[in-house]
Amino acid sequence: MTLPKTIDLAAMKTGGFIKQKEKDFFALRLRTPVGKIDADHLEVISKVSRKYGDGNLHLTVRQGIEIQGIPFEQLQNARDDLEAAGVRIGACGPRFRVVTACPGAEICPNGLVDSAGLGLAADERFYGQPEGLELPHKFKVTFAGCLACCPKPQENDVGFHGLVEPELFADDCNGCGVCEVTCKEGAIVMGDDDLPIKDDAKCIDCGDCIKSCPTDAWKVKRVGLAAYAGGRWGRHPELGQKIGEFISPDDAMEVIADVLRFYKEEGKRGERLGVTIGRVGLDELKRRVGK
């Protein structure tokens, strides 16, 4: 029998250990950014659950896994086994949480941007206490590949979705009218010359016309991300407000960094970003983002 090791209290402070209702039992939260999990890691997780836990795993709403029913004295052993196999431990508390994302352009036919890749990059750079910053409260970030917004960007402290602006190359158009019936926003009508006319005020840059055009007459003018800030769930839900459009993937990382700086400077302890924005003003946040 392995002797119970003393628990590393410093490591425990970074979170990942969640006290269960039953005395002296904990759930161990794992760090699985964008919900992408290596099959080999899953086997290790399964073994640790059987060895130290009660054989149950919980799939969290933020694409994470928690290993339930680990007795206090086995926490360090469970953690050591996981980390030795490359499975990382998650965070709780006032920290930059594991980034979520949908599969995005690499996998989903609707994807406009590589949301999963962006999510992994953001997680790598900001996870935990980014740049040594103590955060006032938890901070959640997600990336969606398109306007369907499957991972709910407007419910996160900072959320992104892909978008694409279409441009018509009239010489390639055969006047079929598919784009007119495809556009769910009613932004396209066929003109008398059998060429589509786009109403920019109605267009939301979803790119459906580009995908549906049989002759590829609608082409991509520019692709990017829309950014939202201040969204949250909980007892007082609030949707994030748009702070930028057609942001490049590289600039998206800087948007996160800028918003974090704003939150660190302006946020009061225990208040989510949306509350800070409500107090300080959305315009002030926008002024400090993308400098």
Partner: protein
């Protein structure tokens, strides 16, 4: 545009996605390259999905238009 005559037709009104596309695909497989198939599609999901799927199969959509009954007529040229 000069009117093209369809060589065959398929009435897919009341047929749900993705069965409507599968039927279109099977029909096109029986036809000769370069010939034309006309399909009737319902408004909503069918007209939003079927043209895109037909395009992905490599066929050409020559015309889509709204018919009197609120459904759509789509003319496809087999690749």
């Amino acid at each position: 545009m000069t009117e093209i005559k369809a060589d065959d037709s398929l009435d897919l009104r009341g047929v749900l996605c993705p069965i409507n596309f599968v039927k279109t695909k099977l029909k096109l497989e029986e036809m000769d390259a370069g010939s034309h198939l006309e399909v009737l599609l319902d408004d909503g999901d069918p007209i939003a999905n079927v043209p895109q799927s037909v395009k992905e199969e490599g066929h050409q959509i020559m015309k889509v238009g709204k018919a009197d009954g609120g459904h759509y007529r789509m003319l496809i040229k087999k690749a």
